[in-house]
Amino acid sequence: MAVRANPNLLKQLKRYGADDVTKCFHCGTCSATCPLSQEPFLFPRKSMRYLQMGLGDRLKGNLEPWLCYYCGDCSDQCPREAQPGETMMSMRRWLTAKYDFTGLSMLFYESRTAEVAAIIVVGILSGIGFYLLGALSGGDFGSYPGFIPGHNAEYLTELGWDVKSVVLVMAVFVLGLLGINVLRMWWFTTGSRKDLNVPFDIYMKHILLCPWHFFTQKRYSECDKKKPWVVHIILMLGFVALFAVFLAHMIWQDDTHAHTYLGPLAGVMLVGASSFALSGRLNKTEAHYKYSHHSDMNFLYMCLFVGLTGLAQHIAGRIGCGAFANFMYILHMMGAVPMLLIQLPFTKWAHLVYRPHAMYFAAIQADVIAGREGAKGASAVPHKQSA
């Protein structure tokens, strides 16, 4: 089937950061250099091709950008400075926008103003919300006493509202969105491909790959450069820890253990890793820090903000400044909520969900292709007839 070249795709992808892709003249050095490129996914050259020619459908069904961890080796080697690593990164942004059915992701990626405005609006709303919540619950979130004294706590209880329910609603909303988008991703890359026709047992065979890659980032560790992987896994574990603190706080109301040990640890990890990455991006120290899309910067600023306010709140609480701790708590939430509502489902943070799924789908595809080729190979060997 013939595919139609679409000149506008190139223009569109420029808004996602693919500025240098037309310089590529397809020598293939990048695919030969990439430590992660492996049959049947030889990248990044072919993705560069799809993009240059504007083959949007091919690109939409392409898992390869997710298999790249942006070590930047290919960009270093490219004779044309076509920045294949950055192009793969911009394709991940574009894919995130394509997977998202609401169109908000596209809006936030294509316009910095939109992303920043959304973060600010959600941040302010949640600030107001938490302030009221604090006020209504007698100036006490349960953690640090003594914030806004003299309010009527009864009112909130009458309403049947508490932080837990708010979180629950938010979680359902975000998970629902991501769930639908992952389904779309599956359809674009695997489900709609008639040539694959994946049997159910192969889906089951690889199902553990998703959590495995999520927690270990094993593939990232296979890059020749190890530092980016270390930074990334610290950032990622920081979030996991934070999430654990959050769950403990919200669901089991256990604040002593989680807050005392895990909270500060998570804060330090977040602040450390994000300030390292931020300074890297600002000083363009490494290949993968050279080009920064607004979504990258916004994400890191938010991480830093959430980390710092979290730490400040903790320290204030420990030294007995309850009022300041609660104030920090609200700031902390003003960062955390937009991250969860904007950046997790729609922009930078969404890769957290898509990447492990891409590994999963890629493993499935590779399995099907290998099986088919194995079968072909077998039939190519003539059967010896026994005499």
Binding site: V3, C24, M53
Partner: protein, 577 residues
């Protein structure tokens, strides 16, 4: 006569080139006992300085009067050894070479047989050489005027270069104006400077220069004579004939473009907005790139290698069109900044100075390059109803493995370069040869790229093969260096090896007149005898064998010499029996 000669024989092993297959000592052992051989030696590299000095010393020490070198082909080192023996005091034509490399070691795989053949050939040379006669180089005067055929950038440059050296030039141009194909071009790749600027200065200087006689609407009718002394008739405006005398001729007749309508799948002639490179040059010159309906195209597809590098049309690469296509990509981008430009190519030929950078810059301006297999060219068809463009180009894109459809408002065909339709006549006129594609053949593709097989006739520019402007100009200047060198010498030295007609034996049948491939034989209608113009004769021997009266003798290849050579081979055979 034989016994009176003192012959020195030198057997070369050419490193291992000869030695590994031919037993050189055996050849020496056999040869030194032959009658007339005064000394016989073998050596590793005869052509080296010590090898040559050995010959020179032996000539003096043994009083040699003939020398045989059994080594490589005479094409390779005959001039070397001729110079060596003349250094030793002998006439250079007292040398004979036996080719025991190309004809023995390189073509045989049996040591014994190769050695036997080497012995036979050496023996033949020893038998022949006593019958060699001494000759002196001959000289003819050199006319300093030149004829330049073709007034393109090659012809203009050559004419100016000669005139600047104060030599008279006749510039004959078929067309009504000077400039050739370059006059049809807008900007030039890779630096995008204007062709008009390049040309205007040349043309202005040519027309003003008193040393240059420009003859427009003119063609060369006939040419006779030989190097340094040609006569030509020029016909102008279809009638007036001018006779001129010149010493050298430079052919600069250029190329013509491939006829795009031959390639059916590109729809040239069928779709109004499928245009050739020259059509586009015209638009670019006018500063407006527009479709037939006057609108600016939004999608432009440029297809390379039209008529070139193909099994069906011309097999060769036209060399300039890849960079010209980039030039168009840039030109169209400037004229229509919103246009989406795709360039379909088979291989990107960015060979010259500044070209790779030009390629890169064009890519940076968002030209999309797609590669196709030259055996599966793209096709152009009308777009479906309701599309916002008017044609669809389909291509099997190699680098993605996809069959891609590209929207197109305009398709530009990069037509290749071809030899001109009258190149055969021009070749006959000046007596040079053409290759299978019709391009004029140079004397040596690497070492002598502007001379031809006819002394005094040179070729420059796109008439010899597709070329860009820098190469064309370099060649034009090279021809003039060759000519000025000859003019400086004042006379021309030519080999004294040629055929001679014995007037007493010639019956005037004129058989030889037609046989000579170099038109070296004149017929004297008064005497009713043929005569050979020695400076034009290449000593091919055609007339010698063809003359029914046996009236022609070739110097240095007399019957006696050849029969003795055959005798030599037979003598070796009988010595074995």
């Amino acid at each position: 006569m034989t016994t009176e000669c003192k012959i020195g024989v030198y057997v070369c092993s050419c490193g291992t080139n000869i030695g590994k297959m031919v037993d050189c000592d055996a050849v020496t052992g056999y040869t030194k006992n032959l009658p007339g051989v005064a000394v016989c030696k073998s050596y590793k590299y005869m052509c080296s300085n010590p090898g040559q000095e050995m010959i020179v010393k032996d000539i003096q020490r043994y009083g040699l009067d003939r020398v045989v070198v059994a080594a490589c082909s005479p094409r390779m080192h005959e001039p070397t050894f001729r110079a060596a023996i003349s250094h030793g005091g002998l006439n250079p034509y007292y040398l004979e070479m036996a080719n025991i490399r190309e004809q023995c070691s390189w073509v045989h795989d049996d040591h014994q047989q190769a050695t036997d053949k080497a012995k036979a050939l050496t023996c033949a040379a020893v038998k022949r050489v006593p019958f060699h006669e001494p000759f002196d180089m001959q000289s003819v005067p050199m006319n300093s005027a030149s004829l330049v055929i073709g007034g393109g950038v090659a012809g203009l440059t050559a004419a100016l270069e000669l005139a600047d050296a104060n030599q008279p030039v006749y510039l004959v141009e078929k067309d009504g104006k000077l400039g050739g194909n370059l006059a049809r071009i807008d900007l030039t790749s890779p630096y995008l400077d204007s062709a008009k600027d390049l040309l205007a200065e040349r043309i202005c200087r040519v027309t003003k220069n008193p040393k240059i006689t420009v003859m427009l609407n003119s063609e060369v009718e006939s040419i006779s004579g030989y190097v340094g002394n040609f006569k030509a008739q020029i016909k102008s405006n279809g009638e007036a004939v001018t006779d001129i005398e010149i010493g050298s001729i430079i052919v600069c007749t250029g190329f013509r473009e491939f006829d795009a309508s031959k390639v059916g799948e590109y729809g040239y002639g069928r779709f109004p907005n499928v245009v050739t490179s020259f059509d586009l040059e015209k638009m670019l010159k006018e500063g407006r790139v527009v479709m037939k309906d006057g609108k600016t195209p939004k999608y432009v597809t440029i297809i390379n290698c039209v008529g070139s590098r193909s099994g069906k049309y011309n097999r060769y690469c036209s060399r300039v069109c890849c960079m010209t296509a980039l030039k168009y990509a840039n030109g169209i981008k400037s004229a229509a900044p919103d246009a989406f430009i795709t360039n379909l190519y088979t291989d990107m030929n960015a060979f010259g100075k500044g070209c790779e950078d030009f390629y890169r810059r064009s890519a940076e301006r968002d030209t999309i390059f797609m590669m196709f297999d030259k055996h599966a060219p793209p096709t152009v068809s009308a777009a479906g109803k309701g599309e916002h463009f008017n044609m669809l180009v389909k291509v099997n894109e190699i680098l993605s493995g996809e069959e891609v459809e590209i929207p197109a408002d305009m398709v530009v065909l990069m037509v290749g370069m071809e030899a001109r339709e009258d190149s055969m006549n021009v070749a006959r006129l000046v007596n040079i040869s053409r290759d299978k594609d019709g391009w004029f053949i140079e004397s040596h593709p690497k070492l002598d790229p502007v001379a031809t097989s006819t002394d005094g006739v040179f070729i420059a520019g796109a008439c010899a093969s597709p070329k860009d402007i820098p190469d064309t100009v370099a060649q034009a200047r090279a021809t003039t260096a060759r000519i000025l060198a000859k003019i400086c010498q004042g006379e021309i030295w030519v080999e004294p090896v040629y055929a001679e007609i014995n007037e007493d034996l010639c019956s005037g049948c004129r058989v030889c007149n037609e046989l000579c491939p170099y038109s070296a034989i004149d017929y004297d209608p008064v005497k009713k005898r043929s005569a050979i113009i020695s400076v034009m004769c290449k000593s091919c021997g055609g007339c010698v064998a063809g003359c029914p009266s046996g009236a022609i003798k070739a110097r240095h290849f007399t019957d006696k010499q050849i029969f003795e050579q055959i005798e030599g081979v037979l003598e070796w055979a009988s010595s074995r029996a």
